[in-house]
Symmetry: none
Subunit: 197 residues, 4 copies
């Protein structure tokens, strides 16, 4: 009844996506049942189909929700004029904190998206590639600026940054007390200077 009234439906649907994300994250796509998702949402099993065409579509929506603004943040980081080290720190911060803020959906994107049929995955693939390419661009620029060693392979570097963040993401999701800031600092430090003295 208030001004925008932007839709009771959209609100409930967003809740449904979160419920699905939580179930998929903890049991895997095939291990989670629509009954469980519905129970978490507090509705009957069949009512889910008012919001999702199919379980597969629910997975797709969770993945999109998980990766979408995470990619947007990467774009903003790549575009701003900060030095390489700040960009790297921002990237890791953004990535790791996504595991907290988006309700496990990013973990679902990482672990379960392969169960989508190729057609449905295409959209996701583009988003994922965009992310990696932005990161590669940051490394290429840093190499050109001389702040990253010339013998570094920017593709390997980008993939590895993503890999480290995702590996720690699993711990973040499972251990709510983990200190994100400390972790971010350690990861960035490793990426820049390695462990050797």
């Amino acid at each position: 009844m208030n001004a925008p009234s932007r839709s009771r439906y959209d609100e409930q649907k967003a809740e449904a996506v979160k419920a699905a994300a939580a179930e998929f994250a903890s049991k895997g796509y095939h291990g989670a049942s629509t009954k469980d998702i519905a129970a978490r949402l507090g509705v009957q099993q069949g009512s889910l189909y008012y919001y999702f065409r199919s379980k597969e579509d629910a997975l797709l929506e969770v993945c999109l929700y998980g990766i979408r603004d995470y990619v947007q943040r990467m774009e903003r980081i790549a575009a701003d004029g900060q030095p390489f080290e700040a960009k790297l720190f921002a990237t890791v911060t953004s990535h790791l904190s996504s595991y907290r803020s988006t309700n496990e959906a990013l973990k679902v994107y990482n672990d379960e998206r392969l169960y989508l049929p190729p057609e449905k995955r295409r959209n996701l693939k583009e988003l994922g590639s965009a992310y990696r390419e932005h990161l590669e661009g940051i490394f290429d620029q840093a190499i050109a600026d001389g702040v990253v060693r010339a013998d570094v392979d920017s593709h390997f570097a980008a993939q590895t940054v993503i890999g480290i963040c995702n590996a720690w993401g699993d711990h973040i999701v499972r251990e709510p007390d983990l200190d994100l800031f400390d972790l971010t600092r350690k990861c960035t430090d490793l990426l820049l200077h390695g462990f050797a003295r």
Copy 2:
């Protein structure tokens, strides 16, 4: 009737474990069916129960198969007298090459072991912890020797080494043409010196 007959069963069982590993790796534990595993092995669905008490037991055996000698190799690496850099290189080599040699079972250990009930997981947990602790020990030693910076958290370091290797493991399993030696070199280089100049 004794020796060879025993090994005949063991051979078949090893085949069964590999078949299960392959199915679990590509479809996930819940997504893979006993029918698929049986089909891959070339037997009837019911015949699987001659080798495994249950699907869950099959998962356990695959995980054990995936992690067992991989931990043993870690022990040998930790125990020999080589310098830190050589140990790190050996660790990464061992970890990454496992993804090729043990028929995707290590991937199953990484991605699916959480679907085992806690009792069955205990054994695995010990193996995994042993691995991590050996690695931590290597870092502790290296810090004491002054070849790794004193401010490095050896727990973080070990976990990160494992995380990087597992992240690249996914690519290794999916891309058969990936150059393992080159990848190992790049990973070790990053871990030692970072990307910065």
Copy 3:
């Protein structure tokens, strides 16, 4: 507010009956869903219940619509004073053309009325019997008049006329280009003189 408003509802309801008839005719009673009917009518699924108490009631109304004026026409044919051959021709014409004009509802009456529970079917049964009995009366009269052979069983004859018309009705519904007049002529010719020279 009175006369036109009443007919507005009736118009919409007539459309609803036709939509239901079309769906029942092409998919069968159990194969057609209320969602499909609503979509064809251009309303929401729930809105159908303004016109029908239940899906079963919809079937009943379609059947009644399909058979009602078709029986009335039979009554008129039986009552007028024309000779047997003209009456037979008129009967076949009326029956076959119903398959075009009443939007497949007669087909629904023929094929789906058995899915109604006996109470709801009673009404229909009387109409169907009335039709058959009129037709039997026409044959009885023709036998008495000597234009139909005395050894003809009028019950068999009436049932067979109905059967032939319904059999061709299926073709009429499915093939829109079928020449109804030619078909009527051939059917009447067979019924009167058979195929033998």
Copy 4:
């Protein structure tokens, strides 16, 4: 354990086809549930899938069972050297008695085969066409021989014979006491000489 032992499986499967035929005949394809079919067969619902890939496949098998030897009998009738009237009588006898002997499967073929997707229907269509064409051939021959009137359209004639038999088939299935021989005689008489004196 006896001589041919032609397969316990085949026996049970034949029973399954009959159970499905009975359910489809009385409730229609969409109205019959696999649970009902299983109950009639005396097994659990899921066990049906040992014999049928799907409900649709069950329908296909019932249709094939319903029409197969019925077509073969038509071929034999068409091929033997008897006069037209005998062939016509044999055709009607064969057709009508099928409704008794093949456990309602022919009725299912007539009423429900349209619910099969086109690919699955192709096989059936050929059998049905073969039947009709044999019958047309019989009429063509009879016209050439002068025993059927020259102005008779053999396509119409064949279709009508089939239509009449199917129309009476419904009664035969529903009324077990109906005198098949008497009915056959009346049908043949109509087809040859019509009702007119």
